[in-house]
Symmetry: C2
Subunit: 343 residues, 2 copies
């Protein structure tokens, strides 16, 4: 067999503000590989199928000397992160050709070789769902929503939850989990289409934060017992203002500050006044405890359509830089997946 293209998406420079296509991240189609003959050295060859693009990736576009919960991307090297792929050849007894894998241990490259299964797991797909689902509602965003809702919400039927970013892949599942637990759900998002999707997910009160006053809506609803925070900044200040005594705040992300060096929050004294507990978390630290319960709960419900989810496909690895910038700027409508190759 002759070599084929092995394109990749490379981290070029540390952005100041928003990342830029070509400058911060670029598509590089110069690589070649012969999948049938490339030496594996005891490892296995993976063909990338679907790549997850997520807000948190901005945090990895930093100087590698700055410590954080995920390593910085390496300048001049492919991005890494959550994806789905299929094993092409294997010299490792844990995986065989045809196995589908997902996890954080992917390089953003059409083909790559791995020695071991660190950061990867074999997908069980009894319902023959499309592979993209395993970077979305059955991947990192779905796990994020489920693990932290179960661990931190301490939700009781009849309480009220506010979910910002409620149409996103995490927020839309949080809305559905909260409804299943009998809560009144308020969801915010930034476009009419997103607002309509939150309604479809069962949210009782939905609004567009760009055209309506968040604080007024939360107060009119009688205040909140739980806040699921995807955005931080002013929205967090409003949620603090509208919180009830003993409210729980689940801090999932703060996209309002990712490209501006952190959005200031001024209302933290409400934590004291109202005995609020604020839980920061990262999905992978809860993985062991909740993984099985999540797939038991979600897989069948995704297959049956009971759990609603939306995805937006960017077709081809060359579209990944644009997809990344769109997510940082909130230009996407739904969960962004880069479709790299068919099975």
């Amino acid at each position: 067999m002759t070599p084929v293209r092995n394109a990749r998406v490379v981290f070029n420079s540390i952005p100041d503000g928003y990342p830029e296509v070509g400058k911060t991240i670029s598509y590089d189609a110069s690589g070649k590989i012969d999948p049938s003959t490339v030496p594996l050295g005891g490892g296995f060859l993976v063909k990338t199928l679907e790549i997850s693009v997520d807000p948190y990736m901005r945090g990895r576009m930093r100087d590698s000397s700055v410590q954080s919960y995920v390593p910085a991307f390496t300048l001049g090297q492919p991005l890494t992160g959550y994806a789905v792929g299929v094993v092409v050849r294997s010299e490792n007894s844990n995986v065989k050709p045809g196995d589908h894998l997902h996890g954080f241990g992917f390089e953003h490259q059409e083909y790559f070789i791995r020695k071991n299964m660190d950061g990867l797991e074999i997908i069980e797909n009894p319902y023959k769902l499309p592979w993209s689902v395993f970077v979305g509602v059955l991947g990192m965003p779905g796990k994020t929503a489920f693990y932290a809702w179960k661990e931190y919400s301490h939700a009781k039927a009849g309480e009220t939850v506010f979910v910002s970013g409620g149409a996103g892949p995490v927020g839309s599942l949080v809305i559905q989990l909260a409804k299943a637990d009998g809560l009144k759900v308020i969801g915010s998002a930034g476009s009419p289409e997103k607002v309509a999707f939150m309604k479809e997910c069962g949210a009782d009160i939905t609004f567009n934060y760009k055209t309506e006053n968040t604080l007024e809506i939360l107060q009119k609803a009688g205040g909140i017992d739980v806040y699921w925070d995807n955005v931080g900044g002013e929205t967090l200040d409003d949620a603090l203002e509208a919180a009830k005594v003993h409210a729980r705040f689940i801090e999932c992300g703060m996209i309002s500050g990712y490209n501006t060096g952190g959005a200031p929050v001024r209302n933290l004294m409400q934590l004291v006044s109202k005995s609020i507990t604020m839980y920061g978390f990262i999905q992978y630290r809860l993985e062991e405890k909740w993984r099985k319960a999540f797939f038991d709960y979600a897989t069948g419900r995704v297959a049956s359509g009971e759990i609603k989810h939306r995805e937006q496909i960017y077709d081809g690895l060359d579209k990944e830089p644009e997809a990344i910038v769109d997510v940082q700027k909130g230009k996407n409508l739904w969960k962004v997946v880069v479709h790299v190759a068919n099975d």
Copy 2:
């Protein structure tokens, strides 16, 4: 008997920024009372002995239409709050002349009549401690430190805690509780005398935040597992930066923002990255659970001198307005008590 003076300290106007003596709060000596004949209407007459002056009082100097965890002071009326007094006469079977009371249910007035015991409790004083102790280390500040340390620190021997405001009546007891639990303790305060007192309380690393770099000190110490926050603002940002994964933040107060409309915090994304839990709380919501354990633990240790504490007496009710302003500006050295009368 002829009437005697019944002076009071009155809330005059809502401050914009720091409160001012005479303008915000004033001493009014025009009142008279005849303690031996004043009608009690089934209640009891209390003579005020010692009044507690605390940072949180700033929050009560607001428009009464603004909701908060404690009621606003009433314009034109005496302040209310934590104090110690003695019962002079009683028509209520729950208390008798000579009983000493403490609690939030005091008016800042030399004598006042109460119908019932709401917000008051009878002091047990087997060691004949000075009454001022019951507004300090055995009063609200001591309870604040003990209740929240027990409830939220999840402290393990060998961990590191940072206590800001570490020489204050709350912080200095937190330092001692943390040492008793086997932690390494870092304390910050704003003067050499305060730094020396933190050392006396057993803190391992002490510094003056006005002359040293908080973040550098926390990082050099290897980071922190617990942060006891009395100040908020930039110090909270530094603590977030220096926190370890799964750190616990106990939010007791944020004096850096009380007179400026809230000090901005920019570093909250660290909550997410490091899976930090932040516990806001108010002492009285933990009262039922921890009250007995606190007095069992602390009373004998205060009497024996094992628990160290300091107080600063402002002699006479006429000094209360000045005492209040000094506490807001951080001009006091130790726990401020207004001595109103002898037993």
